[in-house]
């Protein structure tokens, strides 16, 4: 197998020595349409969820710390504080299932990509 070293004019080239595993031309691989598509799809999928769960998580201490709106009764004497916290549990389980479902489709994309560009 031919060992392809990085070209001198690639933007990421630092003056120091870069090590590769000598297997594949990774610079070319990450420029393929399939890889770019995969990364783009993942980013589009992940970003809103990651932002949403951090926001929802950090809203809890902000709401309990600076306001008293969660101290009202929701169901019987279970206050909104508890409802919000249970909601976080439901959120974790729902997002986990959404992730798993989506990740299976990414697995297929990865298979296709490896099949086309790596395992010739």
């Amino acid at each position: 197998m031919t060992v392809k070293m990085k070209k001198a004019d690639t933007p990421d080239n630092r003056k120091g020595k870069l090590i590769t595993d000598g297997q594949l031309d990774y610079e070319r691989l990450i420029e393929t349409d399939e890889f770019k598509q995969l990364v783009k799809k993942k980013k589009h999928f992940f970003r809103p969820y990651v932002i949403a769960f951090f926001a929802i998580y950090l809203m809890l201490p902000i709401l309990t710390g600076y306001t008293s709106i969660l101290e009202a009764r929701a169901i019987g004497w279970m206050t909104w504080t508890w409802v919000y916290a249970f909601g976080m549990f439901v959120m974790v389980w729902v997002l986990t299932q959404i992730y798993v479902k989506k990740a299976r489709s990414f697995d297929k994309d990865v298979e296709q990509l490896l099949g086309k560009h790596v395992r010739k």
Partner: protein, 515 residues
């Protein structure tokens, strides 16, 4: 101490020792010792993650915190569960794709420099020691209470047991001890929760009405703010909880015990369900203890509330159930400390000895020997530290470990996978800044310097107001990563792996020649 207690206790110990004997026969290579040969299935590893994660802090600590402080105790449950979304969405699969045995391996897959691996190993060892200290102090108190033996003997017993698991059985034994312990813990918690619900006539909502008048806090027991009066301090704690998990070396190491990223993913999914169901039940443990054991009795036994769950079991199910729960708590501590010893030992033997000192030129036999020696060393040091730490607050030690993990490891892990410009200088700067900031801020916090006499080591005004420094130290870790990267960019960055290769492998799981 009754016949029941002794028999249940020794049954649990005998079972775990038998597993170790069985595992010892199949632990020959370094890969088997560190990662059980990567042979665990998704559900097995999911159970083991749960077993590793639901430590004394979760089982004894949260139950006690909810019983004494109401909703403020439940923050731990919310934070520690949500943390798995961070692990699942951002860390688990790329980590499995890039690493081999340890967290430093994964960072080292991009940065060849010894100092990067050394810094990662240093963080691992620091986190492991703090975390282990908490578990050993808890174990000492538990056995001392149950059998009435001296604290130092209790610590020695636990210390020797954990060493036996790791030394002879390696990761295979440790994983199976964790799996069995997770099952026992779930069974025990489900039984107690059922009994508590029965006492409340299976009226979940009505339970809150009862709790409104059941404690000294009155209605505020149902709200946030009993402990965390300062919102910024609360946010700081919650940040450490949610980001810390993604940087805990013994949890990250669990992703190397499966064969590929798909299995790593499925193990997180199993773990999320088991851990989530457990944390929901902490409400029953906490409420039940507050109502049926009572604040005074809980505090009389242990001022931090650590004995609330076993005491509740005793009230509801008598001696057999109390003994069972105590034995489960003991198994919990053993499983967690064994996992910790293993990650500490692998940082010393694999990262420092094999990769840095010997530059990767070691035989299988030398690797396993070094790992066993390191396990003895880690155990010895942690036992010594634990012997002198009887009076330390267990929950504080664990939250400190989470804070160091979040500040020192998480920025580097994330940037290694997702940031093209990130370099050796940035990685080292981030890891050391996160570690040092967290340690220094804690040293001048109310944990160490407190105006209340007897609450900490020194009497006086703390220089830093918050118990947990995460709100400063996590941003410090991220900022140091960025600043270090831009300062280092002008220099020669020898021995760095092309980012394209890291990126490609992280996304696809392609492993080069072996894959």
């Amino acid at each position: 101490m009754s016949f029941w207690s002794y028999s249940i206790f020794f049954a649990v110990i005998a079972l775990t020792l038998y597993i170790t004997y069985w595992a010892a026969k199949q632990t020959r290579t370094a890969s088997e010792f560190y990662t059980a040969g990567g042979s665990l299935t998704g559900w097995q590893n999911g159970m083991a993650i749960a077993g590793d994660y639901l430590s004394a802090a979760s089982f004894l600590g949260i139950a006690g915190a909810i019983s004494l402080n109401g909703f403020d105790g439940f923050y731990y449950s919310v934070g520690w569960l949500t943390a798995y979304l961070v692990v699942l969405f951002l860390i688990a699969e790329p980590l499995r794709n890039l690493g081999k045995y340890t967290m430093a391996d994964m960072i080292g897959s991009r940065f060849g420099a010894k100092k990067v691996r050394g810094a990662a190993a240093l963080n691992t060892i620091t986190i492991v020691l703090f975390y282990m200290l908490a578990q050993l102090v808890g174990a000492g108190a538990l056995i001392k209470l149950l059998f009435g033996i001296e604290y130092w003997i209790s610590v020695l017993i636990v210390g020797v047991m954990m060493l036996v698991y790791v030394l002879f059985g390696g990761m295979t034994a440790t994983s199976w001890v964790q799996i069995i312990k997770a099952i026992l813990l779930m069974v025990g918690t489900i039984v107690i929760s059922f009994l508590v619900l029965m006492k409340f006539n299976f009226n979940f909502v009505g339970m809150f009405d009862v709790m409104r008048t059941a404690t000294v806090h009155g209605e505020s027991y149902l709200h946030s703010g009993v402990v965390y009066k300062d919102p910024i301090g609360l946010i700081s704690v919650l940040l450490a909880l949610v980001l810390g998990t993604a940087g805990l070396p013994h949890i990250l190491m669990r992703f190397f015990t499966v064969k590929d990223a798909k299995t790593a993913r499925s193990s997180v999914v199993y773990a999320v369900w088991i851990i989530g169901i457990f944390y929901v039940m902490t409400i029953f443990l906490g409420f039940g203890a507050a109502k049926f054991v009572g604040r005074d009795a809980i505090i009389a036994e242990n001022s931090a509330g650590n004995m609330a769950a076993p005491m509740l079991a005793g009230v509801l199910g008598g001696d057999p159930l109390e003994s069972f729960v105590a034995a489960v708590a003991f198994a919990t501590i053993l499983a967690v400390v064994a996992g910790l010893v293993l990650s500490g030992a692998s940082a010393i033997a694999h990262d420092i000895y094999a990769e840095i000192i010997k530059k990767g030129k070691v035989t299988e036999k030398q690797q396993v020997f070094a790992a066993r020696m390191a396990a003895i060393g880690v155990s010895f040091v942690s036992i010594l530290l634990a012997l002198g730490s009887e009076k330390l607050n267990v929950a504080f030690l664990v939250s400190l470990a989470f804070c160091i993990a979040a500040s020192a490891n998480v920025p580097t892990i994330l940037f290694t996978i997702y940031w093209r410009k990130f370099n050796t200088t940035g990685a080292v700067a981030s890891m050391l800044t996160g570690l040092i900031t967290a340690l220094v801020l804690v040293a001048v916090s109310p944990n160490i310097i407190n105006p209340v006499e007897g609450a900490a080591f020194f009497v006086g005004e703390p220089l830093f107001p918050f118990v947990n420094p995460a709100i400063i130290s996590i941003p410090a870790g991220f900022i140091a990563a960025v600043v270090g990267t831009y300062i280092g960019a002008k220099r020669h960055e020898a021995a760095e792996v092309a980012y394209a290769e890291v990126r490609f492998k992280a996304e696809t799981g392609y492993r080069g020649a072996e894959g």
